[in-house]
Symmetry: C2
DNA sequence: CTGTTAGCGCTTTCAA
DNA sequence: TTGAAAGCGCTAACAG
């Protein structure tokens, strides 16, 4: 039988209450008594039963997700996954609140975070815009004991508890590799469509893409990125322009959202060889485009995994429990039409 | 406050014991009383607290993994992950036993499974060889209430509770796609190395690979698969033969284990264009080969994920709790040197 | 067939 | 600074 608090109390020659005080390092224990208990813990190999502790405490984990509003497919799916997680709240002892703020709006984000100060949750998961103010606000929360998880987009050099998202530089490099390999030495122009170069993820993807493409096949000409703000209409227009104007457009990479526009433009092309098309995020639209051969590769981050990982990490951090690092790492999924889930 | 058994008992006008009986559908409750309680459950929205139940029951989940012995890197890593899981046993209330049986040895497997009959665990996860006897043995365990999870390799049409592994037909198709796309219309010969054509996984991979390659570029000639029984030395020899003999060997696919042999053979090639090389399972060796450009693509199944999924599913099945399907699905990971974890 | 009562391992008043 | 005792939500004897 694994030792319990009773065994521990007996073994240390103190009462249950004292054991509990030491275990939860609460004040009011003489240093000598404390060390006597700690010694006993080591001696009998006591490991505290978190489930029992949570039961006794009636503990639930109040967790807040702060995410962008708007109808970008990926964010829609992220929010959907948060709703799904709410479904599991009773079983997982969580109480999840989702706060939506306008995308790319630092002030709104700051306000939302500040509002959490009054009644701080156990953890905050946030799709962060990177400004000084945002960092300050998150730091303040962290200082008051809130576990901070950055979601999807990380804050460079910021001491969050965890990042639940992918390495976008690596994602860009992966796109570059696949583009170059699929073109196998061919030369020509590559069109790039981005959301906004003000967002870190997109910057990183572009940098990685260019780097890798240049490494493998420097003869390819990468056209300047078209910023379409994740808007399908603008993506559509930009893609048409690229396809019509660029002589020898052999590849096209949409590193942002708005794939519906890309798919529409590609689908309208006259038959004949299509450029290699690579985009991000698996949605109903991109899945259909992959299956139909309109898009060749989809790079994906699993929103469900991100949300579940964020929750597990916030809970773990909030009670000092270890996390399984490999489990919480978010992969850069590469989907061809052949390995769709 | 969420309703408890007390509320339920009161609301149904019965005692705690009766509530408990219907909750765990134990016998000895009049049908009318039972329905009265069930009604109350629905009325007040009672959801049972599994953690508290487990505490009261002192419940632990005895789980048995039956896996092949031998030094194939993937199986080594699978066993390592099982050991890792043991590490978490106290927290997860599991008691994990790992039984090793010689690879591909149906009789030994049957014997190992039969031995579980005396004291059946809550769940069995097994890397199964597909024979009638094995199926019969697993069915018998299932009939006595044991949750059955097939690991890595599934049993076609068998009613297991879950399969924790990848779709190998899809994996083969993915390999075929990548091979064809990387070769971009080039013609030539493709060498294939397999472990054993008696194993379902390998059959499936080969079928998928051929199919897909033929669809995309029928001019490629796929050489007959060399069966090397996952042995690095034999793989090495086979690869050398292929590289030396085959005029215009443009690609090589190892769908089995023994990648050390493949890597050795490729590394010894005179400089000049190498064939596109695709293999399975990310290990220290294949990682280094990817990084060094010796291998182009590694398809992977995450052994850690498989083990964790198997455990979660066995626990869930064993107490009738739902599983999060998307979380337990094992992906076909595609690794290039750019997106290594 | 149904109910009473004493726990599971830990926390939390309330006294001392 | 310490301890005794009641209780978290559920289960399990043991009586009736």
């Amino acid at each position: 039988m694994r030792p319990t608090v009773h065994d521990l109390a007996q073994s240390a020659g103190v009462s249950l209450a004292t054991v509990d005080r030491v275990l939860n390092n609460r004040p009011g224990v003489k240093a000598s008594t404390r060390s006597r208990v700690e010694e006993a813990i080591a001696r009998i190999g006591f490991v505290r039963d978190v489930a029992a502790a949570n039961l006794a405490k009636g503990r639930i984990y109040p967790l807040t997700f702060v995410v962008p509003s708007g109808d970008n497919s990926f964010m829609v799916s992220l929010r959907h996954q948060i709703e799904e997680a709410k479904t599991r709240s009773i079983a997982e002892r969580t109480e999840i609140v989702m706060v939506e703020v306008p995308a790319f709006d630092a002030e709104a984000l700051v306000a939302a975070l500040r509002a959490l100060r009054n009644d701080p949750p156990a953890g905050v998961a946030v799709v962060a815009v990177d400004t000084e103010e945002v960092r300050r606000e998150l730091l303040a929360l962290k200082a008051s004991g809130v576990a901070i998880v950055t979601l999807v987009s990380d804050l460079e050099g910021f001491d969050r508890d965890h990042f639940a998202g992918v390495d976008n530089l690596a994602a860009g490099r992966t796109a570059g590799s696949l583009m170059a390999r699929f073109l196998a030495g061919k030369t020509g122009r590559i069109g790039v469509i981005a959301g906004s170069m003000l967002v870190r993820d997109h910057q990183d993807r572009l940098i990685g893409f260019r780097e890798r493409l240049a490494e493998i096949n420097p003869s390819l000409v990468i056209l300047p990125a078209e910023e379409c703000h994740d808007d399908p209409h603008r993506v559509d227009a930009a893609a048409r322009r690229l396809l019509a104007e660029a002589e020898g457009l052999v590849g096209i990479y949409n590193l942002g959202a708005g794939n519906r526009g890309l798919i529409a433009a590609l689908s309208l092309m006259p038959s004949g060889p299509r450029p290699v098309a690579i985009a991000h995020e698996l949605t109903d639209h991109t899945r259909a485009a992959l299956e139909g051969g309109v898009i060749d590769v989809i790079l994906n981050q699993d929103a469900g995994h991100e949300v579940r990982a964020a929750i597990r990490v916030m809970k773990a951090k909030s009670d000092g429990t270890p996390v399984i690092a490999a489990q919480e790492r978010i992969r850069i999924d590469i989907f061809l039409k052949d390995n769709l889930p």
